[in-house]
């Protein structure tokens, strides 16, 4: 990791360590002091502009550079649109639009979009943290052309029934004010980018779950000894560790090249592997925590709910296995060539 990236990671760690806890997650309101303090510190430290070009006032980092920050944010269970804003500002920057000095959120799930005189109407789905922002970035298709549009929030927010980790909303918008609207550059694949961000976040959340399992089982005693001394418990936790390690390794190609964030094969492999791992880690971590893990007050459930939410977004791992299988079969290569290409 470059020195600059290490410093930024350290700053981020300090802010999250100081401000993020389970109380924040359970009492997330735009008016809460804890939320406002966290938001102010993140915005004022310019962490939401890490991927913004330097000439637009950003840090000029690359997608590969910010993998540890996305991972860290997920380890902390940061319940705010921090990563959403980083990615939104990145997309704006790629379009040479100045970044926002506030949290923004984004989605690419849209229907019935109409544009009239700098106003946007339509249905927007599964928008994370819409209650905490004033502006929304969307990728949408109009007459076979994809656009990236930033517009002001308005209309009626409908809270989705989700997995109860991050709040997600549907929005039926009518003539909301467009701030920026640009054709999406061909080389950027927003969906694959968002999927890869989720895979990194899933890895971070699973690391946290592993930590919680180790801590809990090293402290709680049953039958006169700590849970960690039971071989069955060790077996469960070692399996969790194995899944976490494999998830981290599956992200490897993303660390190699920024373009891999848009590449179908490089996206499918970690999406599938972290999805498989998430299923196992959720089940095993709840098993080792017993009833305590099933309570709202104990933080395990926040992370397992997040994993459940993320692994089901953009198609689950079964859906992506099919895509990857077809991607291989449709190429005139043997499997080894496909893997090495």
């Amino acid at each position: 990791m470059k020195d600059e990236a290490k410093i930024i990671l350290d700053i981020c760690n300090k802010i999250l360590l100081k401000n993020v806890d389970h109380h924040l997650r359970l009492n997330l309101e735009p008016i809460s002091t804890q939320f406002k303090t966290l938001k102010d510190e993140i915005i004022s430290s310019e962490l939401t502009k890490l991927l913004v070009k330097e000439d637009l006032g950003g840090a000029g980092m690359t997608l590969t550079d910010i993998i540890p920050i996305v991972q860290l944010s997920a380890q902390y269970g940061t319940p705010i649109p921090f990563i959403e804003t980083i990615i939104s500002n990145f997309l704006l920057s790629e379009l040479n639009v100045k970044p926002e000095n506030d949290f923004i959120t984004l989605t690419n799930k849209t229907e019935n979009i109409q544009i009239k005189k700098d106003k946007i109407s339509g249905n927007f789905k599964s928008i994370p943290y819409l209650n905490l922002v004033e502006k929304i970035l969307v990728e949408t298709e109009i007459k076979n052309q994809k656009y990236i549009i930033l517009f002001k929030k308005g209309g009626k927010l409908k809270l989705q029934k989700n997995f109860l980790s991050e709040p997600k909303f549907d929005l039926d918008a009518s003539e909301l004010e467009i701030i920026s609207m640009m054709e999406k550059p061909e080389q950027i694949d927003v969906q694959n980018l968002l999927i890869n961000v989720r895979s990194i976040q899933s890895f971070g959340a699973m690391e946290k779950i592993l930590k919680l399992c180790i801590e809990y089982c090293s402290q709680r005693k049953q039958f006169g000894r700590t849970l960690s001394k039971f071989q069955m418990i060790q077996n469960h936790i070692s399996e969790i560790a194995l899944e976490v390690a494999a998830s981290g390794a599956s992200l490897s190609t993303l660390k190699n090249n920024n373009k891999n964030f848009y590449n179908l094969k490089s996206t499918a492999i970690p999406k599938i592997r972290t999805g498989i791992a998430s299923g196992k880690v959720i089940a095993l971590s709840h098993q080792v925590h017993g009833a305590m893990g099933f309570t709202k007050e104990y933080e395990l459930s926040y992370f397992t709910k997040a994993l459940n939410s993320w692994r089901n977004e953009f198609g689950n791992e079964i859906y992506w296995q099919n895509i990857l299988g077809k991607l291989f079969l449709n190429q005139n290569k043997n499997l080894w060539e496909f893997l090495n290409h």
Partner: protein
Amino acid sequence: MTYFNFPHIEEDDNLKNLRNDVKSFLKTTFNSNNIKPQADAWMYSANPEFSKKLGEKGWLGMSFPKKYGGREKTMLERYVITEELLVAGAPVAAHWIADRQSGSQIIRYGTEEQKKEIIPKISSGECFFAIGMSEPDSGSDLASVKTFAKKTDDCWELTGRKIWSTGAHLSHYMIVLARTEKLDEKNRHSGLSQFLVNLKLPGVEINPIEDMTHQKHFNETVFNNIKLNKDALLGEEGMGWQQVVGELALERSGPERFLSHYILLDNFICEFRYKMSEMGITSLGKIISELQTLRMMSFSIAWMIQEKKSPDVQAAFVKEAGNVFEKKLIETIREMSNLIPFEKWSSSLKSLFQDATLRIPANSLRGGTSEIMRGIISKQLGLR
């Protein structure tokens, strides 16, 4: 908070070119010598002539110093060659253990004489090794070995029995883990030493053990009070446990832990490529994702070894995840066959499938059982 890091290592053009060179060599050599690819070839398919050809190409003893006949290449180059040999089902069993772990142990712990005597022969594909760890009463519990080496004024007297010694009947040497002091129950890992034992010495008895596939690839090796020269000690007296742990990392982390049956998968895809159901295609996507992840982990470990790190726990991950993968692979191939009865598969595919099915129980036993791998991981996590 990151517990186990697998740094991303990029395969550069040099490595890609090396892959192509190995592929071309294998194609030519298989054709001209009528070699048939085999699954699990690193255990079951020994061909000393083929090993010698690899030595002539400079593809054995890759990372050893030139002054001992090595090639001074990187562990990543060795990794690439290893993968290509496994994927081709090449007959590598004769030299596999010598090249994978025994040579490295000698380079690391051996005397100058031991290195000069043995390393050039390993590098030329003319010296083969067997592993001398397990015993009839010491399987997973390696610290309980009873084979004893007694120090006399002029030699070591070795007595004991080693078991599951793959390829001992073809091998020239075995690195034997033996007690050199009586077992101290409070410090079970002390008092162990490693010895470089010439298997042609008088008093060495090698008895084949037929496995459940009716093959005789592993053995019981008996040492009847054999006399070893003083310089047969490998490394430091009493440091055998520490040495053997490093050797096991070499044994556990390689791509043979998940590519042993690749040739079955490849043949299956060739035969069923245009007959797969949606369910089969979906299963195939899962295999691709898991296999590629395992490759990234194993390649990363090769780099860690190259950088003189100690990826013992990471190796346990690859061993365990690789075993799980290969067991699932056999089951998944059954599911992917799209209801085409086994009887209608080609005879070559049926043969590979039957071999794999019969041999697969050994995967999670050899090189340390799954239970041992999970124990290593638990210990590292502070649970033990």
